[in-house]
Symmetry: C2
Subunit: 520 residues, 2 copies
């Protein structure tokens, strides 16, 4: 077990060098770096007493908080693995993740009591301990979080790192099942490092976690902020007034938002009443920045500079960054996803596996320090996606002569709505289980608020009828609300198909995307 | 072979993303990043044709140049190991390094033709190829450097990294023999990373290599500058006018110097005639910054900020950094060596191996990402120095409550003169071979220019006589000039000894260091 690059080294470092400086702020609760390390070591000690060991998996289902940060770092401290669950997933989906990862502990908070009760009822018994992260009444089948922290015992930091597994993050799967992406210490750390340079994070910075912490993007920011010893402020979830208040109150200097959230902030009536002069950088991901939003930002939030990140869970996740200096009105590179980071390698690969020259569109393949260990329990999927250290991203794109990457399509047939990845095949498979359905194709169509909206096109079986709402309700019972179609179109003529018999989604998307920039 | 963290990744990265931007400048010669990668891949190709393979060792004996940078990165590109030889060492010392490392290639330039001829004559035949790095007449027993670069062949980058050996650096040994410190990719990389943050290096920065590139300190700066894609300017060696001219001409923004060099620069009559407004940071090492020099700098070079680095070859080398903000007049922490970097761990260890609390003096032990692989061919020395991942530094010191490290003595009995480490025992063993000598103790005494000067105290055998100059000449024949005593004191009374029979050097140093800050 080699441990040159370890995520917990940073906790030890700042507990030594700035013990009394504030590390975390959540509501009225603050902890300094010394306390943070103590709490992590104490929680790890109690978990060891409960029987948890190195390499065990610990899941968490929670809105953002300082304790969520502790729940990331405590498994790492004890050489174990964190499994952050998607708060928007259905109980059925998270049940899969719990079972698949064999999680022995589930951390959760008050917003998820009923979901966890359901998970518990259907549990196969792998989860041994349910730990309640909120204040106040703890369900009698759970252990109060603070009771585990309140111990005089301290677990020694386990010196794991490098290729040792640190997290399993579930992504929607092209096969219909979520896939557990196994990430290691050096991979996650190496993804965050270029972010410290791009944002220019220093020890005096203050980071706001408003984007969901279960998501690999905010996990990456958490590690970047911790690497540089920045103070970290947590709000439960994105809400424009809460974001603006937190920025003003805590003098926040950088945060992660998706373009949709930035748009909402810019149109907030509170914007003019709030002092956000401390904010110097927003890092965003998931989709290109519309010039209109950039212009709005430059007019309304004059101090703020932008960094774009592109990646995928399989790459821990960051592959490319579009730097601050590239964010200028009229720069054609605004439409790109930026350049590979110093920790990543990118190739554009043709259909025969050949590397394509500058300007030619092919599949984006990524390699380097951040590459995943593989998919949990899915050796075939792993072998298909990860070859000789290269991850086939499923995204189509091209590279210009300076290494900027432009996305032009998603080979994986994925929709990005409000920053969430939705695999069409997963939604299609749910819709297709409805008795009235003969054929279904799910595509993303332009949406002012969410970037893309899920749109289903269906062909009914002869002599069957069903309403749009009934089909949407059918989906809502089985998958997360954000994955369900917002609109359904009934069609009678057959779908366009390719010579190989595949549905030609590009043709189906075209009428919706005419005149729009985006993925067709 | 894992390769998450690899030194050559950065060459590939900037050859992709800033191909046409200048990478290196030496005299009238410039190369852009694309050319740099091409030259490295071409040189590696030619070396492979000559029979060189992965893990082979390639030595270099040269003043600074752009080609020295290529000679670092070419072995790394081909999965081999670089052995930078100390330009101040005697032929005898470097012969040991060549034999010990089994170097198959020796790169050298015009200043070292006669030394290399001597090495060649005494060679055991391990060195197969001598490669002449200078322009002009190449000795007939050597291969001209550019003839190897001028090939249409390109070696593929070998994907090594992490724990793979990258360099063997020779340090004076406490046993009298130099020790070959084996460093790996992730170690060297992790040592340089915190330097990028401390200096705040960006892609638009320009780095000057004026300190000797064979030395681990400048190697670390080379890797830091390359990591961030900074332009790099090389001058053959430190010379105050050459440094000032290079800063002005190339708009240099940061460089590495030792305090002695900074003092020389500040007293240069040319200082007022030169525009050094581009220079924002000097990183220095080897000894604390005297406040007088800091004041001089603040008055005479108003843009310049300082960063101090402390480390040792065994730690690749950086262990602690004293940041820019700590460099203020009157700050008592100016006397410290700074805090551990985010990649290093430090403990102060007592005589029983116990970890000492804040403020107590013990031996400084370091661990973390940068730790060496070990000493080449010296398993016993390795086991003595490197235990459970911790390197016993041989330096005595204490830590304050914020993790700042203060050096108070050198357990290893070492003298630092002009930034070079000199082990007393090595000098003592040479002096003791003179027929007139009964006993000898070598200590460091204060020296305005070099920080410390080598001073020998000798007791002659009965009825023997020898002059000071004769003893100095005796040393010069066998070891590097900088290691030879500057002054010799003849004594008749026996040396003070401890209860355990060890010479009490602290007592011997005291009279010289009265009223001085420094190591006694």
């Amino acid at each position: 077990m080699s441990s040159r690059i370890s995520l917990t080294q940073m906790i030890e470092h700042y507990a030594l060098t700035k013990k009394y400086d504030v590390a975390t702020i959540f509501g009225d609760r603050t902890h300094n770096w010394g306390e943070l390390q103590n709490r992590i070591a104490a929680l790890a000690f109690s978990l060891q007493k409960l029987g948890l060991k190195e390499k065990d998996r610990l899941a968490v289902l929670s809105l953002n908080s300082d304790r969520y940060m502790e729940v990331y770092y405590t498994p790492w401290w004890m050489g174990a693995v964190v499994v952050p669950l998607n708060i928007r997933w259905s109980a059925r989906e998270n049940q899969f993740a719990l079972t698949d990862s064999e999680a022995k502990v589930l951390f959760f908070e008050q917003n998820f009591i009923s979901v966890v009760e359901q998970l518990k009822a259907e549990s196969d018994g792998t989860v041994m301990h349910f730990i309640y992260m909120s204040e106040g009444d703890c369900p009698d089948w759970a252990i109060p979080y603070e009771s585990l922290v309140n111990t005089s015992g301290r677990a020694e930091r386990v010196l794991c790192g490098d290729d040792d597994m640190a997290a399993i993050l579930y992504t929607g799967g092209t096969t219909g099942h979520p896939k557990g992406v196994m990430l290691c210490h050096a991979g996650i750390w190496s993804s965050s490092l270029p972010v410290t340079h791009a944002i220019e994070i220093t020890e005096s910075d203050i980071c706001l976690h408003a984007a969901p912490m279960f998501h690999v993007a905010d996990m990456s920011l958490l590690v970047a902020a911790t690497m540089m010893g920045a103070k970290q402020v947590f709000i439960p979830q994105f809400e424009p007034n809460a974001v603006l208040q937190a920025i003003e109150k805590h003098r926040v200097s950088f945060c992660l938002l998706v373009p949709t959230m930035i748009k909402i902030l810019l149109s907030s009536p509170k914007l003019t009443a709030v002092d956000f002069s401390s904010l110097h950088t927003i890092i965003y991901g998931a989709s290109p920045m519309p010039e209109g939003v950039l212009m709005g930002l430059m007019e309304r939030m004059t101090n703020v500079e932008l960094v774009q990140a592109y990646g995928q869970t399989e790459m821990s996740p960051i592959v490319t960054l579009l730097s601050k200096v590239d964010h200028t009105i009229g720069n054609p590179r605004l439409k790109s996803a930026g350049k590979p980071t110093i920790m990543s390698r990118v190739q554009i690969v043709g259909e025969e596996g050949n590397i394509l020259p500058t300007g030619e569109v092919g599949e984006i393949h990524a390699a380097g320090a951040t590459v995943m260990l593989g998919y949990l329990n899915m050796p075939e999927q792993t072998a298909k996606t990860l070859k000789d250290g290269w991850v086939a991203s499923g995204d189509a794109g091209y590279m210009d002569e300076d290494g900027y990457i432009y996305l032009v399509d998603r080979v994986k047939d994925m929709i990005i709505s409000g920053g969430e990845n939705i695999f069409s095949v997963e939604v299609e498979s749910i819709i297709s289980t409805h008795p009235s359905i003969q054929d279904v194709a799910v595509i993303g169509i332009p949406d002012d608020k969410w970037g893309e909206a899920v749109h289903a096109i269906v062909i009914l079986k002869p002599e069957q009828t069903v309403t749009e709402q009934a089909l949407i309700d059918h989906c809502k019972k089985q998958i997360a609300g954000y994955k369900c179609p917002r609109t359904i179109e009934f069609r009678t003529e057959p779908f366009p198909i390719s010579a190989a018999g595949k549905t030609l989604k590009v043709d189906m998307r075209k009428p919706y995307w005419a005149g729009e920039k985006g993925f067709i």
